[in-house]
Symmetry: C2
Subunit: 234 residues, 2 copies
């Protein structure tokens, strides 16, 4: 048994949060659109029946299809015995993952504040203002929140010694923010020691480390969620 992951090839994007958990936990999957291309993804999505995904990424498990990153990760956690055994704790983790989803949407909207139907250069003026708000108010608010969550069980992970889908997502968030906003994140870095420790600890998870060293890890680029536009950093 193996999952099929469908996501846009060529970018990390939202799919990366799913890839990191699958790779970290050593769960077998095929990254279908990287094998077959974007047209195959669009054809597959269009051909799905019943309650379809609104957008990639989605995971196919036999005759069941599931979309939405946090929802996919909760499902993968449950199906692969990666839960904590405590319903309340598992729900806490999903809640944190949904908050990662929120900041990821905001990161995207910084370079697309007017709409996804237009290119960045068509909304650059608006993006300059949106980026200032995001850097000044939103990054500290979210990072402070996640820093606190990492303190609950003493770190380096949210649960303490055991990593979960939240930790790989916090790793990806910190990697992405450092790529997109290098100046801002350098200035903030010392204020969030637990996030820094979690990021380092995730990079050392065996499955994650070999993934990051492989060509399966697509480099950040300016087609993805986290984009390095120097004019949006400060």
């Amino acid at each position: 048994m193996s999952y099929d992951l469908w996501y846009w090839p060529g970018i990390q994007g939202r799919g990366e949060f799913v890839r990191l958990v699958l790779e970290g936990a050593g769960i077998s999957y095929r990254d279908r659109a990287r094998e077959d291309g974007a047209e195959a993804l669009m054809a597959d999505l269009a051909a799905r029946q019943g309650i379809k995904p609104f957008a990639p990424p989605y995971l196919v498990d036999g005759d069941f299809t599931i979309a939405q990153v946090a929802h996919i990760l909760a499902y993968v956690t449950d199906q692969n015995g990666l839960g904590t055994g405590s319903l309340h704790t598992d729900l806490n983790l999903i809640q944190l993952q949904l908050t990662v989803t929120d900041i990821v949407a905001e990161v995207h909207d910084v370079h697309h504040p007017v709409g996804a139907d237009k290119y960045y250069h068509q909304q650059k003026e608006e993006a300059l203002r949106a980026a200032a708000s995001f850097r000044d108010f939103r990054i500290p608010k979210y990072l402070g929140y996640f820093e606190n969550a990492l303190s609950v069980n003493g770190g380096p992970f949210v649960l303490g010694a055991k990593w979960s889908h939240v930790d790989t997502s916090l790793f990806q968030l910190m990697e992405g923010l450092a790529y997109a906003f290098p100046k801002r994140m350098a200035a903030l870095e010392t204020g969030y020691p637990r996030l820094r420790a979690a990021r380092e600890a995730v990079a050392q998870i065996e499955g994650v480390a070999s993934y990051l060293a492989s060509d399966r890890r697509i480099p950040f680029n300016e087609e993805g969620i986290f984009r390095q536009y120097p004019e949006l950093d400060a």
Copy 2:
């Protein structure tokens, strides 16, 4: 046993998606900040321990706290025996609810494209452009998606004859869009007969009908998610 719901008093906002399910299903709850005020909400949130909510709404169930609308609704569904008995179907519904969450965030960002730290009048120029994209591309894309979901079991609800948290959320979404974008929605209305039927059917659920007729239903206003700014409609 009764839940405590904590959400900003004075607006429907994201809390309304929770209220509609609790009211529709006849589940006992206290709307704490409507009783005690916004300062009590801020004090309660600040005093919470462990994995805290990032923001309201959140639901308190004894010693357990849960935030994020779709997550709250999945929990309430599960705890109150409102599920379908099929894991895959329950997960399909959560996936749809998460997609409602996405469009609700986009609706908010139409009037706040630069950032939530600034007033609408400080980002009105950007909002005019964002609203055009939202009206032209995003509303039809989302409504077409939900219309299709309502076709899967023949309607009037996503599951067919039995309503779920997705239906009350689609009702609230359609009510909100009609309030915020009356011209655009009037032009689109005939294209989505299943959404219209679902909206009418939800309004007739006994618990929902008595809620809507009560003073517990706060009217839409320009402090909430759905705001009637005529210049953003067309």
